[in-house]
Amino acid sequence: MGIGKVNAPGPGLIPFGAGALLILFSLATVFEANSGKKAKERYHLFRGKRWRTALLVLITLFAYALVLDVLGFIMTSFVTLTVLFKISERQSWKIALGASVLTTGFSYFLFDYLLKCTFPRGFLGF
């Protein structure tokens, strides 16, 4: 798309400038991280954290986005919520299922019925 001439700036001008500066700053960041006393202070970003939980939640959410249009809002949200309620800590099935039913029902009522957002209906028709 071209950066154009200085007296006729084209659509690529700012993206080019911003990109060039970004490269510069990235190099500076790499340099900064590897020089001086700071370089020795390495610390672990994932040790001691329950990053597996975070990862599981993420996978669930991407799955949600994938099947939303196929299964419809009610089914997808119910399953996703049950998984989420179960994921973080040992929660009994009773509570997890109950909470999911309540939440799905409430949000469907609030957003679809009251606020008129139209949610996708799945192949099952709801």
Binding site: G12, P15, Q91, P120
Partner: protein, 501 residues
């Protein structure tokens, strides 16, 4: 039109039953999300943006603004009672607020932060009223070069005042700029960076980005932490601070208000930063600086006032220049544009009801908040006790719904999730989300201003340095960036950060 009659007109708008309800709803939601960890005002406002589509613009802005200053009140409650800040602007309140609670003065701490917030919020709104008109008149003289320079200055100040590495913050701002150019180029109408995807033609969207970086990633980070939140089990009694405490708080409240208001007006400033600076100042002025951190009421009153006054201040650049001073304002700017208003000097003249309606609703909102936060504090303490494992699926579901209902398509959900992952990694590696989002919003405006300026000047960049206002802003921006690369000045900045940290 004199000031008095327009204010009266504003109250006419904000006092209508519907708007009163939206104002109340806004501050209620604001307090709630302020109390709850894991979601802040940015996430919530972007979440509720689609819901406001069918409202009239005044009601929408009244409600969204209410969420912002409501969160300031709510955030302090968790800081004081649980030692976990509900959102960034009340981080500093933890230091002395929690200690006060442990010493049995939880009531007084909550009380002074609510009263301080009320006083500061009200003064902030008054300041907003009186400054807006002159500012808007002044801003009418601004041309593209001035706008471009001011936006550069805003981004620079934001990165300068941010925590952590300025290099990283600047990089984030650039990423935000690049993201904002995805879609159709406004001047030539050509698609850029769309990878031939039709869905990317109108850009990636502010709401999915904001919810990803400020909603989803926050949840992910919180899920990792193995924290036990013990709520301070005490009967909260005596919400009224005693005479001695009032005497000690008056100065901090007034100083906090001033600091907050002016930092709020400053592009790139905002509530969080002003609360840190107010705390640092009270500590410097105090005769017993060593006792800060052990439950000094000054350390609660000052910052809590500052963050509320900043809210009023930060509306000034938004309403008069059309430049958002911070991330929340950036999202509000998005809201205004969705409702077909162009924020800027002409807004006051063309849509006075939006401006004055919002401003006067903030008086009412502050009064609602005082009522919500003092007599009803018990309810919020109960809300605090809701365990996170129950809470986070709800936050996530609301984010999913919010992203979907934006355009009724799954694509936005995916975008939000991608930015959720990005935000999660950014937090891990010490990159802030605020510069990215602000730059994303400013991006198109900056580009237009730059290209128009270059057209005016026949391609000479000196145009930014020959006009006084533009030259001053550019000069300050360059000086701030330069100071980062000069070792002795850089050390000073780190010292400042350590002092306030």
């Amino acid at each position: 039109m004199d000031l008095f009659s327009v204010i009266l007109g504003g109250f006419g708008t904000s006092l209508s039953l519907a708007n009163l309800l939206y104002c109340f709803g806004g501050v209620l939601i604001g307090t709630l999300i302020g109390v709850l960890p894991g979601i802040g005002p940015v996430g919530t406002i972007s979440l509720l943006l689609p819901v406001t589509f069918h409202l009239n613009p005044v009601s929408a802005i009244i409600m969204l603004a209410g969420i912002y200053y409501g969160a300031m009140y709510g955030g302090s409650t968790t800081s004081i009672l649980v030692n976990i800040p509900g959102e960034a602007a009340s981080v500093i309140t933890c230091l002395d607020g929690y200690q006060m609670a442990r010493k049995g003065r939880a009531g007084a701490a909550l009380g002074i932060s609510a009263f301080g917030s009320f006083i500061a919020g009200t003064i902030g709104v008054i300041g907003l009223m009186f400054l807006a008109h002159p500012m808007a008149k002044f801003a009418l003289k601004f041309g593209p070069p001035e706008y471009f320079s001011l936006m550069c200055l805003g981004l620079t100040i934001l990165t300068y005042l941010g925590r952590g590495s300025m290099l990283k913050a600047l990089s984030m701002a650039l990423v935000g700029l690049l993201l904002s150019y995805i879609g159709i180029d406004v001047i030539t109408g050509r698609p850029r960076f769309t990878m031939d995807m039709v869905t990317l033609m109108d850009g990636v969207g502010l709401v999915p980005i904001a919810m990803g970086i400020f909603g989803i990633s926050e949840v992910l980070i919180n899920l990792e932490e193995v924290v036990k939140r013990d709520i301070f089990e005490t009967k909260i009694k005596g919400l009224l601070p005693n005479r001695e405490e009032w005497r000690r708080s008056t100065g901090p409240i007034l100083r906090g208000t001033l600091i907050g208001f002016f930092l709020g007006v400053l592009p790139g400033g905002g509530a969080a930063i002003s609360s840190f600076i107010s705390y640092g100042m009270e500590k410097k002025l105090s005769r017993h600086p060593q006792r800060f951190g052990t439950g000094m009421i000054e350390g609660v009153a000052g910052p809590e006032s500052a963050n509320n006054a900043a809210v009023g201040g930060s509306f000034i650049p938004l309403f008069t220049l059309g430049i958002p001073a911070n991330v929340v304002m950036a999202v509000l700017l998005g809201a205004l544009m969705i409702h077909g208003m162009i924020p800027g000097p002409t807004l006051l003249a063309e849509h006075p009801e939006v401006f004055w309606g919002t401003v006067t609703s903030m008086y009412l909102g502050n009064a609602f908040l005082l009522l919500l936060n003092l007599p009803l504090i018990g309810i919020w303490v109960k809300v605090l006790k809701v365990p996170y494992k129950i809470l986070f699926p709800l936050i996530i579901l609301f984010c999913l719904i919010g992203a979907y209902s934006l355009n009724n398509r799954t694509f936005d959900v995916v975008i939000m999730l991608i930015f959720g992952v990005a935000g999660y990694l950014m937090r891990k590696f010490g990159y802030e989300g605020a510069p990215l989002l602000l730059a994303y919003v400013l991006g198109p405006m900056m580009e237009q201003a730059l290209r128009q300026s270059l057209l005016i000047s026949y391609g000479s960049f000196t145009i930014f340095f020959t006009r006084p206002i533009s030259a001053a802003s550019m000069g300050i921006a360059l000086a701030l960036i330069g100071s980062y690369f000069l070792p002795f000045l850089r050390k000073r900045r780190l010292d400042l950060q350590e002092e306030t940290a």
